[in-house]
Symmetry: C2
Subunit: 196 residues, 2 copies
């Protein structure tokens, strides 16, 4: 049986959002599943010395243009939230609180859609709870403050960094790392050919 593709992303990453709209379908074409693995990109940035793209002189305006241009090319709706970059703690904790379930992935897709298709501020716990509620996921709020919820996200972030993940999105296919939504064509080719 073929192993899952690991899909690492931060909920505040526009390129992660773009990849999230394609990765499941891409993997399915090659008989693969996808393990969605949100993490806190800021923890990796502390080690690599990076900071959010849009906060960087000269690079920021380019990337704002590129987010929208790349989305148009994919035919995906895109609207950058007024508050950007943001810290997606609530959504990330919620994901792991729900465990490795279809509910967690459904919530992830809905959060990404709210943030980058609708431009909503998804940082408040209440917003994440509301989005979850619209999917029939109840009693989320009580979980998010549990030490267990915090610990799971911390462990997931540490595990991502330990595997060399430093950006969002980041894919690992049979041990081979690929960074960036613009590497999806290479990911697909790797799946087709087993490497080159």
């Amino acid at each position: 049986m073929n192993s899952a593709i690991d899909f690492y992303f931060d909920f505040s990453s526009p390129y992660g959002y773009l990849a999230s709209t394609r990765i499941d379908e891409l993997a399915a074409r090659h008989g693969r599943s996808v393990a969605w693995r949100p993490f806190l990109l800021g923890a990796a940035f502390k080690l690599t010395g990076q900071r959010a793209l849009v906060e960087q002189p000269i690079r920021g305006p380019y990337h704002e243009r590129d987010f929208a241009r790349s989305a148009r090319l994919l035919g995906v709706p895109f609207l950058l939230p007024a508050k950007f970059p943001f810290f997606a703690l609530a959504a990330s904790r919620a994901f792991y609180w729900l465990g490795d379930s279809g509910q967690a992935k459904a919530l992830a897709k809905a959060v990404y859609h709210a943030a980058f298709a609708e431009g909503r501020d998804v940082t408040p716990v209440s917003t994440v709870v509301e989005i979850a509620g619209s999917l029939g996921i109840e009693e989320l709020e009580r979980g998010l403050d549990q030490p267990e919820a915090k610990a799971r996200l911390r462990e997931a972030t540490d595990a991502a960094i330990a595997r060399g993940v430093f950006g969002s999105p980041f894919f690992i296919v049979d041990g081979e790392p690929f960074w960036g939504h613009d590497r999806l064509a290479q990911v697909e080719r790797w799946l087709e050919t087993g490497g080159w």
Copy 2:
């Protein structure tokens, strides 16, 4: 008449080398020429706060792998020089000293090939002069120390940054900016469609 594609690059950029092996042919398919425009990426990094990829923790090993993997996919020879990153001052000055001529582009291709196909150290003036000599370009050495040669490179670098160029390779097609050799498919599509 269609305007030229501006191709900005630093001679020490492996992704610039990869793009250099494809850009002329890609442009020709769409009836375009390419204006090769080397610049000193370090000057842009001072403004954006970036530094060389391989000097960055975690990101460095990934990119060394990605350079070679991307080259294999293109079917292009690749060997990272032992001294890397390097400061390509001599080659950059030589390019502009030769002016906007076929000689300058021929030298650029030969320097890139020496650096990243053969893994040679192209930082010494003597090496650039030797590479130029193998192309029948003589009397280069005397020019490189001229204030005029230094000034042309400085002006080219300032002009690149003034247009928002912050990385290598970087393309501008009819005013539209694209960063990265992994944007070449988008560059080609832009040429085909006039934008999206």
